[in-house]
Amino acid sequence: MVETVIELKGVEKTFRDFWMRPLAQAVRGLDLEVRRGDVFGLIGPNGSGKSTTIKMVLGLIRPTRGTVRLFGLDPRAKAARTRLGYLPELSHLHPFLTAEETVLYYAGLSGMKRAAARARTAELLEELKLSHVRRRTVGGFSKGMARRVAIAAALVASPELLILDEPTSGLDPIGTREVKELVGRLAAGGMTVLLTSHQLFDVQDICNRVAVVSAGRQVGGGVVADIVAAARDKRHALEEYFEERLNAQKDEQ
């Protein structure tokens, strides 16, 4: 039986103001299951609740209702967080640290031993073509280079689950291709990946399963190969499916 890595059951999230009055319901009764080895794409228009869902999976915010389990544990449990890597949408880094120090910093926060952290950092910087700039402060890096440093930081503790929020955001075509190749290599190595993206073409290339969310609800999803097989235009299969699901939801409303 394949292990469930992420499990969301009837998850709802309502943001409230200071007086606890409801401000916005970001997620409404979401059920989701990501299994080991999946490269799972969470897609949806802006404001559909993707980032809120990811934050709940990361344990940064708690759901108002429903349960979120990570490796069968509470996402805030140390044991769950030890097996997790996260790349946020924007590559915010400490500008005064060098590329090497940045990766070592996150290795330290993940509780890695110094020698192991150094070896892993060198390996990742090499793999992400950052070895030649490892002693340069990241404050002067281009967006693409900063993105690669952030990816190295997310991968440094060799996580079992990698959560990528818009991984190709701000990257040029070559950078995008490199990230896609990297995710492909990680998935081939058995890593579970959950990603969100607006680049449906990329999602179709990388992911094996997707879920379409809109207005906080899941409005579609399934195995990418099945979606492609059923599509008229194989090249833009996911785009077609995405539009169809959103239109179907509008019709229901």
Binding site: I61, Y86, P88, Y105, G108, G111, A153
Partner: protein, 427 residues
């Protein structure tokens, strides 16, 4: 924790904060003494140097630690760096403690440089570092006890109006306690006053008399202090604080009797006999102290440094809490307002002690000031710069108390709250 410590330390190092503070500390020692005039005596010069320079450095460290702490988490939240930390298998408390430790070490380094300079710069012109003194106050019952007794008599008296008897007891007690602390006694010419002290025999003691200019109680002080077998004569009309060395009476007569020879005498009262022609007014709880020899200026400067560091550590922990809960400008503004309130509240309470004579608004202000004073009482009790400048030996138990409270207990509370709030402020 070590990782959080290192990154904060690196930001201070590479952000040039460390170097700016270091330059400020060194500049304070070499520039400030030239701007301030002392009374011209060697002791006056030293006191001015210590008071002005160490006071400036201490204030700078407190402000710097508070400001840097206020910016820490708030800036990272603004830069969306916090989620990257909070998703790691490290507790938010460890992160907060690591960062706080980095600031404490920074302050410690600066204060260590300050301690080294204060032991060198003022004495570079041949002045000998003076030993500090242990200050002993009269061993009187606590003012609250005396106030409670006075209040009991006050309530029992038939002459006390019924309306006054119905006044809030806590307020009356607070008023009487304040009065008791400021109570003074008049010593007529030719008469004496005795104050109980519990100071070991055999030490070279001095009697210190302090006169508050607020009361303008004397024109001149002439008299004889006696404690156990020692005595000293005082005749002065200008100084506000007078130290009268007490010499064994046998020494005065023959100069052959060893110190401590008077141990057989068990009179534990310091007696002052007024030999002048005018009344002398003394506040027993405020104006008279016995000074016993302490240790070196160097040792005292280290203890003062420890206390300054404890104070800065407490402020840094409080700053981290504000930073976790509020945005940077709001945290800084709140810190400044609360710090000002903490500095002004004791003055407000002492200047306006009588709450029966104030309006409702003033009563509310007084109540707030009292609450702030009570809350920050432990902080007000330590005054390392003043102690170092005046030569008062800082008791070891006072230093340990400051470290336990300001470097361990309160930081644990504030940093724990920071960790709690940090997780709830992620959006």
């Amino acid at each position: 924790m070590i990782t959080a410590f290192l990154i904060t330390w690196r930001s201070l190092w590479r952000g040039k904060t460390l170097w700016i503070l270091l330059a400020a500390v060194v500049a304070a020692h070499f520039l400030l003494p030239g701007l301030v005039r002392s009374d011209g005596s060697a002791a006056g010069r030293l006191e001015m140097h210590v008071r002005v320079v160490c006071g400036t450095v201490s204030a700078l460290m407190c402000v710097a630690s508070l400001a840097l702490a206020c910016g820490s988490f708030a800036r990272e939240r603004d830069a969306e760096l916090l989620p990257l930390v909070l998703v790691r298998p490290i507790s938010a408390f460890s992160v907060a403690v690591g960062r706080w430790l980095a600031l404490v070490v920074l302050v410690g380094v600066m204060l260590a440089v300050n301690a080294a300079l204060v032991n060198v710069v003022p004495f570079s012109s041949g002045l000998t570092p003076p030993d500090c003194k242990v200050h002993h106050s009269p061993s009187l019952p606590p003012a609250e006890v005396a106030a409670a007794e006075a209040m009991a008599a006050f309530l029992a008296s038939e002459r006390t109006p019924e309306a006054v008897k119905k006044a809030p007891r806590a307020a009356v007690l607070a008023l009487l306690t304040a009065k008791e602390n400021e109570r003074y006694e008049v010593v007529r010419p030719g008469k004496s006053i005795s104050l109980p002290f519990d100071v070991p025999a055999g030490e070279r003691l001095a009697a210190r008399t302090r006169f508050s200019t607020m009361y303008n109680t004397r024109m001149a002080l002439n008299g004889i202090f006696r404690y156990r077998d020692c005595e000293g004569t005082v005749s002065n009309s200008t100084q506000a604080i007078l130290d009268t060395p007490l010499v064994p009476r046998a020494d005065i007569l023959s100069l052959t009797v060893a110190p401590g020879a008077g141990d057989v005498l068990r009179d534990l009262s310091l007696t002052f006999t007024n030999t002048g022609r005018s009344d002398v007014m003394l506040r027993p709880r405020r104006d008279v102290e016995l000074l016993a020899p302490g240790d070196s200026f160097f040792a005292n400067s280290l203890r003062a440094t420890g206390e300054m560091m404890a104070l800065a550590g407490l402020l840094a922990a409080f700053g981290f809490f504000l930073s976790a809960a509020l945005s940077r400008p709001v945290a800084l503004f709140t810190a400044v307002v609360l710090l000002s309130a903490a500095l002004m509240a004791p003055d407000a309470v002492s200047q306006f002690p009588d709450e029966f004579q104030t309006t409702a608004g003033e009563k509310a202000g007084l109540a707030i000031s009292r609450a702030v004073t009570r809350f920050t009482a432990a902080l007000s009790e330590i005054s390392p710069v003043s102690d170092l400048a005046s030569g008062r030996a800082i008791p070891m138990r006072e230093l340990i108390g400051a470290i336990v409270a300001d470097m361990v207990a309160w930081p644990c509370i504030f940093l724990g709250l920071s960790a709690f709030v940090l997780r709830r402020k992620v959006r």
